[in-house]
């Protein structure tokens, strides 16, 4: 038996050398900068290296679930319809394309920026599942892959004999993801878009200002529920991978977008079941905290700009001063000590009538000030205030630049592009996310996958191409 009084220095926690000791003394800020070192991600290993995933996905929701894996190091093979590609390449913004080319057969067709962030690091191949020859190709890919994500209408892949119950016969360790609108149930054939998810799950009903203030149920401008649902699928995939590591069995993940959206409703649903209260929209104010909202200032920070987004919209400030000392200070700053006398407790301030009076007073005070003046005055007084930024200001934000949240990269196919997706999804000291390429052109990796990975001869590939199979 080992004598417990004996111990090896190496086994003890803490510094092992003078250099380690010096390292341990560096300030936390410096420690973090060294640990995460933006721009040096490629020197570190990838956590999901060795995982191979098939992506039969379209638009944002399901592609994003797989892009998460690809950014973490998985080898993802995206399968698109030959010649056309998936619709997101042609969807937004404005149905115009910005990065050419898409394919040799369509030299005037490119890909829109909407395709970005949801297709990072994926290899792109083309395959038409309708053709009988395609089935063998897909099955061979399934045999050597860990999972597949698809977004076709429920039962479509089953009809094509490539759903979970068929594929698990081929590969019992296979993880199969269906992501779509409603899933099985009364609305099984309902397709989904982000806006449909927001509407169906009730999220839009609690977003935006109340009708009394000229507001309407509002959808988010960007497709947040697509991004959010995709991320939740990734969580499920990682859990399924861990389960498989322990028990050696695959999983089917059936992910309804409208179902996921109800999760984002917070306490809205339990509020109804307990009290019968249907939650109302409260716009840029908050039902739980006051002051905790967005106010309009009188002057723009960019009065001479031509772009209306800068000239008129750079006037909003987020203000938070809900606890008593902060609210008292806020009232003093805006010269309305009477408001503090009137609403001394937080409960009093939460009443709708009180909120209307308080926010109106704030906006009256800000009417002759610019956004940055308001932020400076409030911040100097120790109150949390932040301008509502637009993308120009996000681009210019030093905080994001230093942390590498947004950065320029030299894409191997498309040249200089600004990326923000992967690097905004949290930092990891040992196995950070990284962007190797923003996306590949349509069928760019047909040769690599069909010939080099699966071993089909070039003559076969040429024949398939002529028949429109790939």
């Amino acid at each position: 038996m080992k004598d417990l009084r004996e111990c090896c220095l190496e086994e003890l926690p803490g510094p092992k050398s003078q250099a380690d000791l010096e390292d341990a003394k560096i300030p936390y800020e410096e420690y973090c900068r060294r640990l995460f070192a933006p721009g040096r991600e490629f020197e570190k290993p990838e956590s999901l290296k060795g995982i191979r995933w098939l992506s039969c996905t379209m638009y944002i929701f399901t592609p994003h679930s797989v892009a998460n894996l690809a950014e973490l190091g998985a080898e993802v093979i995206k399968i698109e319809v030959p010649r056309m590609g998936e619709p997101m390449r042609h969807t937004s913004p404005f149905n115009e394309v910005y990065l050419y080319p898409m394919h040799d057969s369509r030299p005037m067709t490119g890909t829109g920026f909407g395709y970005m962030n949801a297709n990072t690091n994926k290899y792109n191949i083309t395959l038409d599942y309708h053709r009988p020859e395609a089935q063998e190709i897909l099955y061979r890919l399934v045999k050597m892959s860990d999972g597949l994500t698809e977004c076709y209408r429920p039962g479509t892949f089953d009809r094509w004999r490539q759903s979970y119950r068929y594929l698990q016969e081929i590969n019992p360790r296979f993880i199969y993801v269906w992501g779509g609108g409603f899933g099985y149930g009364p609305k099984v054939f309902g397709a989904s878009y982000d806006i449909l998810g927001q509407a169906h799950a009730g999220l839009a009903s609690i977003t935006g200002f109340h009708e009394d203030f000229g507001g309407h149920p509002t959808k988010h401008t960007n497709w947040v529920i697509d991004w959010y649902s995709g991320t939740l699928i990734t969580v499920a995939i990682l859990a399924a991978l861990n389960w498989r590591r322990k028990y050696g069995l695959g999983t089917m993940i059936e992910f309804s977008q409208v179902q996921a959206c109800t999760r984002a409703m917070g306490y809205t649903v339990p509020l109804y079941h307990r009290f019968g209260v249907v939650r109302q929209r409260w716009g840029n104010w908050d039902t739980q905290l006051c002051v905790h909202g967005i106010i309009l200032c009188g002057k723009s920070d960019y009065p001479d700009e031509v772009n209306p987004q800068l000239k008129y919209d750079a006037r909003y400030v987020m203000v938070s001063a809900f606890n008593d000392p902060d609210f008292q200070e806020l009232c003093a700053v805006i010269g309305r000590k009477d408001l503090w006398e009137k609403y001394k407790s937080h409960k009093q301030r939460l009443a709708p009538e009180a909120q209307i009076e308080i926010y109106r007073a704030l906006e009256q005070w800000a009417a002759d000030k610019s956004r940055s003046e308001v932020v400076k005055i409030l911040t100097d007084a120790g109150i949390l205030a932040m301008p509502v930024r637009n993308d120009k200001e996000v681009y210019e934000c030093e905080h994001f630049r230093q942390r590498g949240t947004i950065r320029w990269m030299e894409d191997p196919t498309f040249g200089d592009v600004l990326v923000q997706g992967a690097y905004s999804a949290g930092l990891m000291s040992e196995t950070p996310r990284r962007v190797k390429w923003v996306w590949r052109t349509l069928g760019a990796d047909n040769l690599k996958i069909y010939h080099e990975l699966l071993g089909y001869p070039l003559s076969k590939l040429k024949e398939w191409s002529e028949k429109g199979i790939i």
Partner: protein, 155 residues
Amino acid sequence: MCDIIWCKKCNTVNYLDPYYFWNWEGKVQCAECRTVYYIHMIQGFMYAGPEEKPGEAPDILPLYADKPLDGYTNYLPGTEGRTRPFQCQPREIYLGKPDMVKFSIRGRPVRGWAPQPPSTGFLGSFGFAWDVEKLSPEVWQEYQEKKKRGEVKDW
């Protein structure tokens, strides 16, 4: 969503394809009575107009027009002299002014113009290296000049 010019003279709704008119200033002709209207759109918002411009020549025709109060009689896209054909092309190409972005806002080359030289790959395969000097020598040349002028920045 589609912006319209509702001609009150002949009660005709002239439909404008929104993508062409997202940021646009010019004159559009009513498909029915051929009155010319001036409009100015900024970010999809009708900033000025429609305002009658009698005697002036139109820049463009509407895509489609109908008369809702007259049994929805209509002019389909491409009716000669009344509506323009739907060609499914980006705005710049439609107006005959190619506006291909060759450089990012910090002045470095991007592969964003058409037509592209064909790939050297088999069946549309693309390699991972884009050699701007070899594939687009004129862009490379422009890039060198930009560098000399100090127009290439880090941010």
